[in-house]
């Protein structure tokens, strides 16, 4: 059943591009650039926009998403011959939900103050289309090694988007960078905080939800402009 499905690979639009091109490096690179989940596919925008008020929040969400992505992709890939075709979506959701719950528990156990701040958005990783899309479009048709690389590339791409947005919004909204990193990396990280001169008041709008849309929109536009220019 699953063998037949593997032969009949009809890549969903935009999702499995780059698979045929093959190669581990290509798979890895595609997740970061050509198929960047946030900036190209516009997936996972809900946590992306909600959480990125600071770098530390972005790092935490990036790590949690990476853990779920890698776990889900590996599990789905290893089990791809056993997962019944008709129940594959419930199986994927079950696997993703398991890894998400594990990520939430780990965050609560080892970074409790951060958990209190962003737990809601880590919990909704379970509904992140980015992860389900990787499981369905890639991991269910590829061996574990490639699925792992794909997860790493996609996670790196998502982390890149999170960090860029988080750093921009923290710098413009609060006038700091890397504030509160001790919540995630222990007391030693308290010294990582950088106060940016001339931005001490900060633009309140940027750290509020509308600011997330504005900054993300500007970033998307800039990325699009660069890509268009490169293509010419």
């Amino acid at each position: 059943m699953s063998a037949r499905r593997e032969q009949a690979v009809a890549p969903p639009v935009g999702a499995a591009a780059g698979v045929a091109a093959g190669g581990a490096a290509a798979t890895l690179r595609a997740g970061v650039l050509a198929r960047n989940p946030a900036w190209t596919q516009l997936l996972g925008l809900c946590p992306l926009l909600a959480v990125t008020t600071s770098v530390v929040n972005s790092v935490a969400l990036a790590l949690s998403s990476a853990m779920v992505l890698i776990g889900a992709n590996l599990a789905v890939s290893c089990l791809r011959r056993w997962i019944p075709d008709f129940a594959r979506l419930p199986a994927y959701v079950l696997i993703i939900a398991t890894f998400t719950t594990c990520a939430v528990l780990l965050l609560e156990a080892y970074a409790f103050d951060l958990y209190l701040r962003i737990a809601l958005f880590v919990q909704i990783i379970v509904t992140n289309c980015m992860i389900l899309a990787r499981a369905e479009a890639f991991a269910s048709r590829q061996p574990p090694g490639l699925a792992l690389l794909d997860a790493l590339g996609t996670a790196a791409g998502f982390a890149l988007a999170l960090l860029v947005l988080g750093a921009l919004r923290e710098a413009l909204g609060h006038g700091t960078l890397f504030a509160g990193m001790e919540l995630l990396f222990g007391p030693a990280a308290a010294g990582w905080r950088i106060d940016l001169p001339g931005l001490d008041a900060g633009l309140l709008l940027v750290s509020l939800p509308p600011g997330a849309f504005i900054v993300a929109g500007l970033l998307l536009g800039a990325g699009h402009a660069i890509r268009t220019r490169l293509r010419r």
Binding site: W82, I83, P84, A91, I95, A97, T98, L105, E108, Y110
Partner: protein, 200 residues
């Protein structure tokens, strides 16, 4: 094959068992995946439970310290929803059914007077509408200080229009808790001594 000699009605049986087998295998696979997920979850819970309990206790102690305006929580622990401080004061905690979910509150009261008298109320967690119920976050807010000096009659405190459900839930919950609160200082002192034994 024996099936050939069977009456016509039962000739479909091999096909039926085939269909059952076709269902059974994926079903078993799905159940196995479920079991695997459950095992992974159980292992994670096992690993993280003590850390989470520690973190929650720390959060609770921070709230107690905030309520008492102290740097750290005093020695002792909760006995049910009461924490006897041993100096005629005690803490009460409870949960009110608010508009957006449970409102967790904590208060310190003076039990040396004949009836318990509230000294300070702190809302430790709530999911009420932001903006409308922001006053819950500030223990110095005029409405929350209205509880000071009250006992079970806290239930009669005026509500805030626009936040009626929130405020009525709190006044009722706190009033009810105060009506059942222990008032006798001798027994409280004894309980306080007992509570001191629970210091880790």
């Amino acid at each position: 094959m024996a099936d050939v000699n069977e009456p016509p009605g039962s000739t479909e049986r091999p096909g039926a068992t085939g269909a059952v087998a076709a269902w059974l295998r994926p079903l078993a696979a799905f159940l196995a995946i479920t079991a695997g997920c459950a095992t992974l979850l159980a292992a994670t819970v096992e690993l993280t439970a003590p850390h989470i309990a520690d973190a929650r206790a720390r959060l609770e102690h921070q709230a107690v310290a905030r309520l008492l305006d102290a740097d750290t929580a005093p020695p002792g622990c909760w006995t049910g929803d009461t924490w006897f401080l041993g100096d005629g004061h005690a803490l009460l905690r409870g949960s009110a059914a608010g508009y957006g979910g449970p409102i967790q509150w904590m208060l310190v009261f003076d039990a040396t007077a004949g009836t318990p008298l509230i000294q300070r109320v702190l809302v430790t967690a709530h999911q009420e509408t932001p903006g409308i119920a922001d006053f819950l976050n500030d223990p110095q807010h005029g409405w929350l200080t209205g509880f000071h000096g009250r006992g079970a009659d806290a239930a009669n405190l005026d509500t805030i229009s626009g936040a009626t459900i929130t405020t009525r839930a709190l006044t009722r919950s706190i009033g009810r808790a105060l009506a059942d609160a222990p008032t006798q200082s001798p027994s409280m002192a004894a309980d306080g001594a007992a509570a001191a034994a629970c210091v880790p």
